[in-house]
Every structure is written in C-alpha cells, then in structure tokens.
Amino acid sequence: MTLATTDAVALTGVHKSYTSKRGGEVVALDDVDLAVPQGQFLSIVGPSGCGKSTLLKIIMGQTRLSRGTLSFGGELPEGRHRLGMVFQQALLLPWRTVRQNLLLSHDLNGAPAGGSDRIADEMLAKLGLTDFADKYPNELSGGMQQRVGIGRALVHDPQILMMDEPFGALDALTRDQLGMDLLEIWERDRKTVLFVTHSVPESVLLSDRVVVMTARPGRIAEIIDIDLPRPRALETINTPAFGEYVTRIRRLLNSEHSAH
C-alpha cells in the first residue's frame, strides 16, 4: 500500500512478533496494510488479543515493528502535538490532581495558565468531574480515572488521536455521552482518530471506516466503509442502515471467532 497524499498514517506489510520470556514467538500482527486518510475517524474491532493495542503502540513508536513500513504524511507539525493516545489503563500521574492531569500537555508545552484554566473547566464539566477537579487519582473510582485519561488526550488535541478502549470502564450513559462529545470535537476539527472498541454499535455510530481484525495471527479481515450521514446523533442508532452495519460486522466477528 502506498502513501496517498492525504494519508495521515500508513502501514505497509507490517508484521510484529513478540519473543516470549520462556522462548517461543507470539505473532501479534501479520501482514497488516492500512492507510488512514487525514481527518478520518477509524475504528478497530476484533477479539481480545488480536493485536489492536499493538497496532496503536506501533504507530505511537512505543513498540518496534518486526517487518514492514510505517509512514506519516500530510501537514503534520514536527515532533510535537502530533500523536495523542488514551491507553487501556488510565495512566494518570498520582502526584497531580485531576485538573493538573488534564492540563499535562499544556504544562509540557508551556501554555499560558489563564487559557488552560478555562479549557480544564470545560473539560471537567464534559467529563462530569467538576467536583473532583482537585482530587488525586487514587481518590477516584475506576471509571472516573478513565475519564480523566480521555480528557487529557482531548485537551492535548493532537493531529492523530488514538484511543484504546477508552470507554471500557464506563456505564452506558456516560459512555454514550462521551462518545457524542468526542464526535462533536471531531466534527469541529476533523483530526484523524484511531479508535479501538469492543462495542460494535459504538464503532458504527462514530466511524467513517471500521477495521475488523482476526485473532492470532492478528490480520485485517475486512475494512468496512460506514456510509451514514453526518453529523450523527444517538438517534442514528434507530436507522435501518445502522442496524445493517452492526449485523454485518457482528457476523464477521462471529465467523472469525468460530474459525478458531
């Protein structure tokens, strides 16, 4: 796969295997070709252990690929502000309050304090954590911590936003609400988003494309374009087209699952 002019990130023939402590290799990704156009909202679904986190970590530069090419394109600012990630764990800094954790990237980039405060307040409200602004992470519930992790990445506002099961620890309502907030933010700036989720409806509701992966070795089974009109709302769920996409993806996942 070659890099189109408008691709934010492209992977060609990517292979990743881990060598185990006790010897033996685990192939996490095999022969993955994926190009993500600038400004696209792309979801990745697949069974547990199929290499979704590995894929994001490779793009982050956190894990080296064993074979293949990773390239970034387009008008990306050098070095800074390029990538942002919400990890599967919240990864908050225990010595910073909720507000300070949210503003981490602002602090690192020397943003003026005044503007940051307003941004933090808005984000706190969105996350439903206004009362917890001055609490420390270990005073929060699991879901609250995860919300702070999401907020931190959104405040960072990167060119490519990667989210690894960000809503996993949240109740349905908070989840829907944050999903809509995310969509709203995305509609405004059209940053590139790579979104890993276990919820098929969520992937359909949010994305332009859904990548369905197979387990061991992690391969791309199919990439499905979601041709639903934008802007989308929670009501989109009730349209027949939505249901069809969901059924189709579920069937794909099922067949992949039973093949093992």
Binding site: K57, M60, Q62, H81, M85, L91, L93, L108, N109, P137
Partner: protein, 281 residues
C-alpha cells in the same frame, strides 16, 4: 444454618458513646514506645554492668554515660564540637545529594554513561574512605572541606543506587504518553521519572543521612582538632570511656533526628505512595 452472624463489624469505637476504647500497646505513639524500650534496655545494661562487674574502661554504666553527657552539655564543650560535626554532616550530605542525583540523571539518560562510566563509579566505591583520607587531606587541606568531601563520599553511593533504581522503574507506557505530548527529555525526567523515583530516592536519602553521620566521624578521626570524632579520639586517648559513649549517644540522637526529618518530609512529598496503614487492619 445458624441465625447468629459469625462476624459483625460495627460502628467504630469513636462514634459509639459509652464503650471505653481499649488502648492497646501498639496504639501508643511511636516515640513513647521507642523511649520505653530504650529505657528498658538501658536498665538491663546498667544491671549487667553491676552484676558482672564490667570494667568502666570497656563498657561504662549508662548512668555514668548520662552524667558525662550532662556535664559535657552543661559546660558547652560537647555542643560546640557537635556543631562542627553537624555542619560537616549537613554540607557533606547536601553535596552527596547533588552529586548522586546528577550521576543518576546521567546514568539513566545516557546509555553511554551507563555502560562506560557507571562501572568505574562502582569500582571507586569499594575504596575505603579511611584509606584515601590522607590523599583527601592533601587535596582539600586539613580544614572542613576534606571532612565534607569524605562525608559526601560515604553518603553518595546508597543514594545513587536508589535513585537509579527509582528512575529506571518508571512505567514505559507513561514515558510513551509524555513523548506523545511532545515532552522533551528534560521534561520527561523532571515531570515523570523524578517524581516516580521519589519513593525510592527517599529511602536512599534515609540511608545516606545515616552514613553521612558516620562519614563525618571517620573524616575527623583521620585528622582534625575539633568535632565529635575528635572528641571520641581524645576521650579514647584519655580512657574517658563514659565520655566516648556520651558522644556516641549524641551521634545516635543526630542520626535519629535526621531519620525522622527525612521520613516525615518524605511522607509529605510522596503523599501518593501506598499507605502502609492500609495493610494493617
């Protein structure tokens, strides 16, 4: 099946009136318990000295030590010597902290320093300070500088190892997160690695402070005309063993004070670390 509950956790004692709280020994404040035990041990020691008729030239009775300590404090001599030693301890300790953290920074930031320089640093640590103290005297003179340097040399290594250990145990995922936020190397160090290492660094500071006390004394042994180490030598020469022990008691007091200062400040600084008390109920 029984109708009685086999365990009932009720309202904490404080809230329910009427029931007098049963004070257990372990709930007493720490200083009281430690002092109590110390008094107990000193009494046993006093008794042993009397019963076994130990020569005061080898191990004096605690009462004699206390008397000597009191008279030494009263006439001001011990205090003025202690002040000298304390300065050496604090200056040496500070020097060690700066040096150890700097080296730890370099070792953890540069693989070249880690591989090439660190083994040599370890190699120098085995050289007994007493053995190179003469060289230090020649380089830094007979004044306070050479004592401060010796003190720092002794306090340096425990802190260095702990700082490196702490800096290395930073979560790699968090480093990746900082990188993605465009953090510079320096920012990753200051904002992430250093705070992550703090619990380990505090433990290192604790050891370093205690060794700084020993370091200052050893330095004074080698060549000095003042300080508590000098007093130990002087009283050793005059076989004034009670006074020697009185000085040792002062050193213990200095050490334990430094320990508690570091532990207390440490707890405040590393407020987020696992609270031990959560393990005990």
């Amino acid at each position: 099946m029984t109708t009685t509950s086999d365990r009932t956790t009720s309202v904490p004692a404080g809230a329910s009136a009427g029931r007098p709280p049963r004070k257990r020994l372990v709930d007493q404040p720490g200083w009281l318990l430690a002092t109590g035990l110390a008094v107990l041990l000193l009494t046993a020691w006093e008794a042993a000295v009397v019963v076994f008729d130990v020569s005061p030239l080898i191990v004096p009775a605690p009462s004699a030590v206390a008397l000597s300590l009191w008279s030494g404090l009263a006439d001001g001599t011990l205090l003025s010597h202690a002040w000298i030693t304390l300065q050496e301890i604090l200056l040496g300790f500070s020097l060690a902290v700066v040096a150890a953290l700097s080296v730890a920074f370099l070792v953890t930031q540069s693989r070249l320093v880690d591989k090439a320089v660190f083994p040599l640093v370890v190699a120098t640590q085995t050289i007994p300070k007493v053995a190179i103290a003469p060289v230090l005297l020649i380089w830094f003179g007979t004044g306070m500088t050479s004592k401060v340097v010796t003190t720092a040399l002794l306090a340096f290594f425990p802190l260095l190892v702990n700082a490196i250990h702490g800096l290395r145990s930073t979560d790699p995922d968090q480093v990746a997160m900082f990188r993605s936020f465009g953090a510079t190397r320096g920012q990753i160090f200051r904002r992430l690695q250093f705070p992550s290492a703090l619990p380990s660094i505090v433990a290192g500071l604790d050891v370093a402070a205690i060794f700084a006390v020993t370091g200052a004394i050893v330095a004074e042994f080698v060549g000095s005309t003042e300080g508590l180490g000098y007093v130990i030598q002087a009283t050793n020469f005059t076989l004034d063993v009670s006074r020697t022990f009185a000085v040792l008691a002062m050193l213990s007091a200095i050490g334990i004070t430094l320990h508690f200062i570091i532990v207390t400040i440490g707890k405040r600084v590393v407020f987020w670390a696992n609270d031990v008390s959560r393990l005990d109920h």
